[in-house]
């Protein structure tokens, strides 16, 4: 049986671990609230942009010289997967989930004979995928040093993807990230970026059938500047959802860790008290038997 001193030290160490996990849980909860607010604030822009794209896309669709961002390069050979994950760990299975999802997707595409390229955003997902698919990496982006991701960061990623498209480095681009369903559930999911999946026009129920818009300058020109912006908006949204999901996941993980530490402390304390009792009993027996022998 472990000595009393050793037990005492273990109890103390678990106690400080519990303090840390508890603090991390509180911090994650506060950050989660902020991340959720930011995600909420970004929604109006995305909604309006979707509405504009819907009506524009309907006007331009089917034209032979439609922009590449809208129709892609026409091929289906090279796939670019943009994998968004967290920059830090200690968030349960958050990063592993999105990594696993991406891995399954890469295998699926490769067994269908496609070429896959990976652009990893976030350090954890990058390390996860690099082990197996290091040769497919087209780039790695991390916002680890930043306090919060801004729209400029997303715009930068978007312009990088656009540049790759213009160079003809891929045909199809999709985004893999943890969709934020609620605080405890994040679902890894895939969303196609290029060719752009256009929302249905006229789905705005409030205003009934939309009147036909006039465009200034032409539809094509507006679309040409709207599409890169839309790409950035999609990426921005995925970044925000990842941030919110990350903190949600971290909060749950740290809550569990705190509870486990509490259970462990109870067990160790029980063990400690039993050992102490046993020691006392042993000493008493020694004294009594010593006295009887005299």
């Amino acid at each position: 049986m472990a000595s009393l001193k050793a037990l005492r030290m273990r109890i103390n160490s678990v106690k400080s671990t519990r303090k840390i996990t508890q603090a991390m849980k509180m911090v994650a909860a506060a950050k989660l609230r902020r991340a959720q607010q930011r995600a909420e604030a970004a929604r109006p822009y995305a909604e309006r942009m979707e509405r504009m794209l819907g009506s524009l896309g309907a006007a331009v669709a089917g034209q032979p010289d439609a922009p590449r961002l809208l129709v892609g390069s026409g091929g289906d050979q090279v796939h670019l997967l943009v994998v968004v994950s967290g920059d830090r760990g200690l968030a349960g299975a958050f990063n592993t989930n999105v990594g696993r999802f991406a891995r399954a997707r890469v295998r699926e595409l490769e067994s269908a004979g496609k070429t896959v390229k990976i652009l990893a955003i976030g350090r954890k997902g990058a390390t996860f995928l690099r082990r197996e698919f290091g040769s497919r990496f087209a780039g790695e982006i991390s916002f680890a040093g930043k306090k919060a991701v801004g729209f400029e960061d997303a715009a930068e990623v978007a312009s990088r993807i656009t540049a790759m498209l213009e160079e003809g480095e891929f045909d199809v681009c999709s985004l893999i990230y943890n969709r934020f369903r609620n605080v405890i559930t994040q679902v890894p999911s895939e969303q196609q970026l290029i060719p752009a999946a256009l929302p249905e026009a006229g789905s705005d129920a409030q205003e009934g059938p939309q009147a036909l818009y006039e465009y200034e300058p032409t539809e094509e020109e507006i679309l040409a500047s709207l599409l890169p912006q839309n790409l950035a908006v999609q990426i921005y949204r995925s970044l925000l959802e990842t941030t919110a999901g990350f903190y949600g996941s971290q909060m749950t993980a740290m809550d569990n860790a705190t509870r486990n530490a509490g259970e462990m402390i109870n067990k160790l304390t029980l063990n400690y008290n039993r050992t102490r009792q046993a020691n006392i009993t042993k000493e008493l027996i020694e004294i009594i038997s010593g006295a009887e022998a005299v």
Binding site: P44, R48, M52, G150, E216, I222, V233
Partner: protein
């Protein structure tokens, strides 16, 4: 006087949403005044100043560096990355931005025409910012 809803959204948040009487937008092909009941339009914006009129007076002047606007009879939605009240524009900022853009344009000299055009548009928007800062 009749009003329409003016909404100003940036990718990060909703900047402004309230009923106004008239708004003047710096559309890509010239200034455009919008009154309630305007025909539905989607316009691209160049860098310039958006003037808002309420109660018969100019109440707000905002500088935008570019973006889009959706006009319907009852509502105008402006999608822009940033909007600064003209009064808080500074000349130094504008001049610095012009210098940056000129450099970028010089670097883009042998890039694709699209890239040159984009750099040019940014330079023009920076010049509009300086003009707005000087006028304020």
């Amino acid at each position: 006087m009749a009003t329409f809803q003016l909404e100003f959204v940036s990718p990060e948040k909703l900047l402004l949403s309230r009923p106004v009487e008239m708004a003047v937008l710096p559309a890509a092909e010239g200034e455009m005044g919008v009154l309630p009941g305007h025909a539905p339009m989607i316009v691209a914006l160049r860098g310039g100043v958006i003037t808002v009129r309420e109660g018969g007076q100019e109440t707000e002047k905002l500088f935008v560096a570019g973006g889009f606007a959706e006009v319907t009879p009852t509502r105008v939605t402006i999608l822009a990355e940033e909007a600064t009240p003209v009064a808080s524009l500074s000349r130094e900022d504008a001049e610095r931005r012009i210098a940056d853009c000129e450099k970028a344009l010089a670097e883009a000299a042998d890039a694709t025409p699209e890239k040159r055009e984009a750099a040019m548009a940014r330079l023009l928007s920076a010049r509009a910012m300086l003009a707005a800062a000087q006028a304020a």
